[in-house]
């Protein structure tokens, strides 16, 4: 069953110079899938993520998230929709600096007005799962990047959203912390069947996913599925990326031929 369906989505930024950010993009994400979206800078990844996050509206085309069309919802309901159905993980964590790790994680639940007991139980459960129990009372400025990103994942998970949207979650982390975060994401994906859509530049990060979708200049370029081995999947991702490099690769081959 598809949890996210994009049909012919197009986004044009009006202005002095009109800019076509996404052009007739269509794809589907299955429930429980861990999908990566890759593409060079300026390919429309962030725009795509914003549109799926429902904070930006497509110029044309249809989006369906768990059976609902956000474009038809009034603004207020849209906020409530995001609050309950979506979870976010950002490149620079975006934890609220004034809140402790624990408070950052319960934030989505407090916004939804849940009872203290429920919040306490959930935080306890997730903190154990993400190995954050010892730093629950610390502030974001007192913890490492890896811990901060794990906290952010905790915040994205706590209200059990139907889809988690991650924007370069490993972009600000060292390799050890990045590996940690990716393993947690794929573990969450496997154990609780949470759908995750991740935008990334990093082929290693992408290789943790079930499927990688490539876009270029706002258009669908290619997609590849994970086979059995992560190593070979990583190699295939690299191949597509070099193909994506576009003109350069072709230029190189013509020179070689001649």
């Amino acid at each position: 069953m598809s949890i996210l369906i994009l049909e012919e989505v197009t986004k044009v930024y009006e202005g002095k110079v009109a800019h076509l950010a996404i052009n007739q993009l269509s794809f589907e994400v299955e429930k429980g899938e861990f999908i990566a979206v890759m593409g060079p800078s300026g390919s429309g990844k962030t725009t795509l993520l914003n549109i799926i996050s429902t904070i930006d509206r497509p110029t044309s085309g249809d989006i369906t998230i768990s059976g609902l069309k956000p474009a038809q919802l009034p603004k207020n309901d849209l906020s409530l929709f995001r609050r309950r159905e979506l979870g976010f993980v950002f490149q620079d964590f975006n934890l609220l600096p004034a809140l402790t790790v624990e408070e950052n994680m319960v934030l989505p639940l407090t916004l939804d007005g849940r009872s203290i007991e429920v919040m306490k139980a959930k935080v306890q459960h997730i903190a154990e799962h993400l190995n954050l129990t010892s730093i629950l009372q610390k502030r974001p400025s007192e913890i490492s990047g890896g811990q901060a990103q794990r906290t952010a994942i905790g915040r994205a998970l706590i209200h059990e959203p139907s889809i988690i949207l991650a924007d370069e979650p490993t972009g600000n982390l060292d390799s050890k912390a990045a590996k940690d975060v990716l393993e947690i994401l794929s573990q969450v994906n496997k154990e609780s069947k949470t759908t995750i859509m991740m935008v990334t530049h990093d082929p290693i990060a992408a290789s943790y996913c079930d499927r990688v979708l490539f876009i270029k200049d706002g258009e669908y370029f290619n997609e590849i599925y994970k086979g059995d081995l992560r190593q070979t999947f990583f190699q295939r991702i690299l191949n597509v990326l070099s193909l994506l490099g576009g003109g350069g690769v072709n230029d190189l081959s013509t020179i070689r031929l001649s």
Binding site: S53, S79, F81, F88, P97, A98, L99, L107, S141
Partner: protein
């Protein structure tokens, strides 16, 4: 583009950021200039007035300078803080440190130049208006606009040197940092709000003790205590912001049932950071607003003082003369001449007062004739009295005496002439100064009065007589130049003692009032304008702070919006963040000034029986309205910015 143009464009194209700053500094220059105009005015002849004007303006200007200095320094460093990234980029592009210093210096000087020019322009335009108000308040004949280099020079020198000092000190502020640090921006948000528990209790304790002392002092007035109270309140306020508030918030944050509730989580946590960061600013704003509220409040109370002063002193000029007063005739002549010279119409009522002994108290009392009282009453337009033979009205310097009379002492005999009289009641209008009444006096009917032939025991007929001269001048405020030499004798010989060594007693409420009035009027102007400058500046402090934190806040709200906070909820969160920033210093200032008014009220009662409760309420309400509208204005801009 030359270097100078670059600096110029930096200022002009950022005018939106500088708007609040400009407004506050222009206004400050303007007020300073207007004060200088009055200070150097060549046409003020009155020596007293000149002293008051010069001294008052000087004090006001010093306050303005100190405050403007602080304000400029604070806002300049806030601006530079916000532009650190930009400076980093410039240095990265190869700008020399020396050039950067010059750039900042130039920019500050451009800001200063514009503020001074516009400020002086508006100042000069409003000078005439200001002089008109001063002329009315001081009852001067004319106070024309004049042109002299002095006020211009003073304003330009003072503000130019301020801007130079500021620009040099702000350069030092940048110099210490590395390029990398600059490019990364400040980023030094102290995320953890630390506080000392001891200081937290000290702050709260000092405030509570100060307030209790105020209440206590209402019953036991003590001037020395006021210094102690002020000192404790100031220290207490400081610790209240740096520690106590954070302590209180921390207690709330430990109670999850209270704290983990929709937006409270964000609001409280943010509040504690903002309070920690702005503690010093809140402190300054609180103290400054308290002073502003107070000066305006005291001055407003003056309007009611005028009315009540008139009620307490209905007779414009009063002269009491003993039987052996050799100056009587000359003095009365002189007073009449002076009144004529001033072009004031007057009515003179002469009272022939006889002294007798009252059988009740066995003390000498003054006895006044009914028809004479009535002729003054006609002039003053107060109800006439009608006494039959044997009836009397009591004139008393105090209210309590009347109660004693009611309880059985209504009959008395004027012993020397054996005239029995019945005391009908009390004469309610204070037409005689309490000093000449001493204990008590009776008004009796003309028939009885003519029967008073016997002198006071042990005195001759002439010796038991006194004469009162009451001048009624309807334009009583203009009598300040009448009887100045008599007034001088009175103040010199009597001083503060209650004994009058002169054979006469003279009082001119108009003159006394003009002294009080001039002092208060000056306070009014200094107070009002300084308060206006301070309020504007306090508001723009908050505005800068919001503006410099805007990028950070924007990002935070973006995260919140993604997490599903609706627009209405966002406004609620913004409210909960802005409200304490606006109303915490203001609220504490309100409480401070309320207690100060209570203190003043206690003090005031000793000076004159005037209540300032009503005026106090009006002042507090007006300030509330101003503050609330300022809050809505800033909130509107802030929300517009973060939703961009």
């Amino acid at each position: 583009m030359t270097f100078q143009q670059f600096a110029y464009h930096n200022v002009i194209r950022n005018s939106r950021i500088y708007a609040a700053f400009f407004m506050a500094s222009i206004f400050s220059v303007m007020v300073f200039f207007v004060y200088s105009m009055l200070m150097f005015h060549p046409n003020i002849e009155d020596q007293f007035l000149r002293d008051v004007a010069f001294g008052g303006m000087l004090v006001a200007q010093v306050i303005l300078i100190v405050f403007t200095m602080f304000f400029l320094f604070y806002s300049m460093s806030a601006f530079l803080q916000a532009r650190l990234h930009e400076f980093g980029v410039l240095l990265n592009l190869g700008m020399e440190r020396q050039q950067l210093n010059r750039l900042i210096f130039l920019e500050t000087m451009i800001l200063g130049f514009i503020s001074i020019t516009i400020g002086i322009f508006f100042g000069f335009s409003f000078s005439k208006f200001f002089f008109m108000i001063i002329r009315e308040l001081f009852l001067l004949d004319s106070l024309p606009l004049y042109l002299s280099w002095k006020p211009f020079a003073l304003t330009i020198i003072v503000f130019l040197s301020q801007f130079i000092i500021i620009s040099i000190s702000s350069v030092v502020f940048i110099r210490k940092k590395e390029v990398v640090q600059l490019i990364k921006g400040d980023g030094k948000f102290s995320e953890v709000a630390t506080y000392k528990k001891g200081n937290a209790f000290l702050g709260l304790g000092l405030l509570v003790v100060a307030y209790s002392l105020v209440i206590f002092s209402v019953f036991h007035m003590n001037i020395f205590m006021s210094l102690l109270i002020i000192f404790m309140a100031i220290i207490g306020t400081y610790f209240f912001y740096t520690d106590s508030m954070l302590y209180i918030l921390d207690i709330i944050r430990r109670k999850e049932r209270l704290y983990w509730h929709s937006f409270r989580l964000i609001a409280f946590a943010e509040a504690s950071i903002k309070i920690r960061e702005n503690a010093r600013m809140f402190f300054v704003v609180t103290i400054v607003s308290t002073i502003a509220f107070l000066s305006v409040g005291v001055v407003t109370s003056f309007t009611s003082f005028t009315a009540q002063y008139r009620e307490l002193n209905p007779v414009s000029i009063f002269y009491a003369s003993d039987w052996d007063n050799p100056f009587e005739e000359a003095d009365i002549m002189k007073l009449s001449q002076e009144l004529q010279r001033e072009g004031l119409s007057y009515e003179l009522v002469k009272f022939n007062v006889k002294k007798q002994t009252s059988s009740n108290s066995h003390e000498p009392v003054n006895v006044i004739k009914e028809s004479e009282v009535n002729s003054l009453a006609v002039a003053l337009k107060i109800p006439l009295i009608d006494l039959n033979q044997g009836e009397a009205l009591l004139v008393s310097s105090t209210q309590v005496n009347f109660d004693n009379i009611r309880s059985g002492m209504e009959q008395t005999v004027l012993e020397e002439s054996s005239i029995p009289i019945q005391i009908k009641g009390m004469y309610k209008h204070p037409i005689f100064p309490s000093f000449v009444i001493k204990n008590r006096a009776f008004i009796i009917s003309d028939e009885d009065f003519s029967l008073l032939t016997e002198p006071l025991f042990g005195f001759g007929v002439e010796e038991s007589k006194t004469t009162f001269f009451a001048f009624h001048v309807s334009d009583w405020l203009r009598t300040k130049d009448v009887g100045t030499d008599l007034d001088k004798i009175m103040t010199e010989t009597m001083g503060i003692s209650e004994v009058n060594p002169n054979p006469f007693y003279f009082v001119n409420p108009g003159l006394n009032f003009s002294v009080i009035r001039a002092t208060f009027a000056l306070l009014l102007f200094t107070g009002l304008l300084v308060a206006a400058v301070l309020l504007l500046a306090a508001g723009s402090f908050v505005y800068f702070k919001l503006y410099t934190d805007l990028d950070r806040d924007k990002k935070q709200y973006d995260v919140l919006r993604r997490m599903g906070v609706t627009d209405q909820e966002l406004v609620k969160i913004v409210n909960r963040q802005l409200v304490p920033q606006f109303f915490l210093p203001w609220g504490l200032a309100m409480v401070h000034s309320t207690f100060s008014f209570i203190f003043l009220q206690a003090f005031w009662v000793d000076l004159a029986a005037v209540s300032i409760a009503m005026e106090m309420l009006i002042v507090l309400i007006v300030f509330t309205v101003i503050q609330v509208s300022y809050f809505f204005l800033i909130r509107w801009r802030y929300i517009a910015h973060i939703q961009e």
